[in-house]
Amino acid sequence: MYVAVKGGEAAIDNAHRLLADRRRGDRSVPTLGLDQIAEQFALSVDRVMSEGSLYDRRLAALAIKQARGDLIEAIFLVRAYRTTLPRFGHSEPVDTGAMQVERRISACFKDLPGGQLLGPTFDYTHRLLDDELDGDPAVEPGALRDGAAEPATQIADILGGEGLIEEDPLAPGEPGDINQTPMEFPLSRAMRLQSLSRGDEGFLLALGYSTQRGYARSHPFVGEIRIGEVEVEVFVPELGFAVPVGRVQLTECQMVNQFKGSAKTPPQFTRGYGLVFGQSERKAMAMSLCDRALRAEELGEDIVAPPQDQEFVISHCDNVQATGFVEHLKLPHYVDFQAELGLVRTMRAEYEATRNEDVEIREAAE
């Protein structure tokens, strides 16, 4: 007797059990502690916090462990948790000018107030595998500067003093929230920046790269990149002033791009902006290239390439959405496939029938 495929429930349970087994791997190898992940895979943790839109190192580390190191899966875990948290308001704009910088570089000026500060960067390392890391070699602590740091003036303020760069357009009122409002195009720049900040690093990297290769070229210069901690403040109406609620590490990129002028304004540089949680320079730079490209319409440029098209960029930059929809193709599609199968068979039968008719006609003619 034919029995239809059953037992989905038992199959799922067994699959999850096997997954847990594979996640743990060889039991004789010690399990990873969350502190180990947070300390030694710090940049993975940063990416998960940034694209998961939740600043919590411990939860990001937990997600990475649970996801067997699959970062998009970890991002998904964090997002699915964050969506259940109540929203109690929005912070005051963080003052990145007052950032406690650990790294700050500018490609525009050889020296500038606050100096060039390389910080913990892979730049200028030789990418040679270091066999010593197979063990636990002693590592020197980082060198510390003497005395207080010179304040690092923001590049926009340096150029802005002469009017050489556009003002940061201030959007009045409460910023939108991409979690609270349905996406309706065209999006405001604030909403676009939120989407880009949690967008997939790889996707934005490729799009940003394409702008450098001629698709919506914008002649970018790294005005500056800064990485460090800032204080987050929330305005409390009952108190009448803003109170600090914590500190977050951010990476900010100010891209300075080719100028624009009009009959009313003299030529000036334009800006592309990137801001992400943690230390993620590649992402912040890619984001600032994409942000600039997406301002095409506002700046009166022709829209000729994908990075300038906000529906294209914003609708496809979220890796949680993208991975879900791509991977849904492995769900059963029996009934739709059956429908297509029926149609193809009918059309093939008709094709055969007309061919036979043709043969008969030809034979009759002969």
Partner: protein
């Protein structure tokens, strides 16, 4: 993080209220796609998050939930979603169509006609029927606003010109109350007539695309067609091999590598109910071996 506790049916009440507002607007304007602030759910986008959010927003403690995928209750994703609601809402679930107050579905409408008071929740991947004709949302919204559906008719006409048929077999576009062209979700067009004048409330949730739309009970739902090429549903030239049902949608099951096939109800509850009532198809209760599979070799 403290041990995570979740609200009844997972979503917080604020979110549910937002979704209910979108649903009410959808009901007020049948077939119109209402944007809503879709949330991340603990299952992936594209796996029914829209349907799950709609179900979570309308679910009450007394509801009885049925979840189907491809018509069947035991498909893995249906099992997973049913388990999810058992866990986060503790509600009663069923596989029996008639017993359910809410039925969440992917790709099928149950064969048993739905009744007043029942709600059918569809999982929708691409809610925009015009999407594959025009990829831009800004354009398609304008087209809906202006009731500019010529492009869709041209597409259907071109199908006929090229293939002799309208080559859309599922997600076959419908017109609702003579106004909005709507995507019925990727149900086979076989199910389209069931949407017309249904006694049940039909709700459609698209999570990734952030849209909700609705068909209130007794809504006029017409599949697009032409006078000389009227809309037709798929027909199967045989009954279900297990329960003998006719005029139902069948799944093709491959029996061997020699072309052996059998056709069984896609709606597993309908099939099981009929078998319990004593209906028998030609392969029910028989051992499947080479001698019986011979009889199923011809294909439609």
């Amino acid at each position: 993080m403290t041990a995570a506790t979740y609200n009844f049916a997972y979503l917080d009440e604020q979110t549910k209220r937002m979704i209910r507002r979108a649903i009410l607007k959808g009901i007020a304007i049948p077939g119109y796609q209402v944007p809503f602030a879709s949330r991340e759910m603990p299952m992936p986008y594209g796996w029914g998050t829209g349907g799950v959010q709609v179900t979570a927003a309308i679910l009450g403690p007394d509801d009885v939930l049925k979840v189907i995928d491809q018509g069947a209750d035991d498909t893995t994703n249906a099992v997973s979603i049913r388990k999810f609601f058992q866990r986060v809402a503790g509600i009663e679930t069923t596989t029996n169509t008639a017993d359910a107050t809410i039925i969440q579905t992917r790709h099928r409408i149950p064969e048993t006609p739905l009744q007043e008071g029942q709600v059918l929740v569809y999982q929708v991947p691409i809610p925009e029927p015009l999407r594959f004709l025009e990829p831009r949302e800004t354009e398609t919204r304008k087209m809906h606003a202006l009731e500019e559906y010529g492009l869709m008719h041209v597409k259907l006409y071109e199908d006929i010109a090229r293939n002799g048929h309208i080559a859309t077999t599922y997600a076959y576009p419908v017109k609702v109350e003579g106004r909005y062209v709507m995507d019925p979700s990727p149900t086979p067009k076989f199910d389209n007539p069931k949407m017309h004048m249904s006694e049940a409330l039909q709700l459609f949730g698209a999570g990734r695309e952030k849209r909700i739309y609705a068909l209130p009970p007794h809504t006029d739902v017409v599949s697009l067609d032409f006078e000389d090429h009227p809309f037709e549903v798929q027909r199967f030239d045989r009954p279900c091999a297990l329960c003998g049902a006719e005029q139902v949608y069948l799944d093709e099951v491959v029996l061997d590598d020699r072309g052996g096939r059998m056709f069984v109800c896609s709606d597993s509850d309908h099939c099981e109910t009929r078998q319990a009532e004593g209906f028998r198809g030609e392969l029910a209760g028989e051992k499947l071996d080479a001698s019986t599979s011979d009889r199923t070799e011809e294909v439609i």
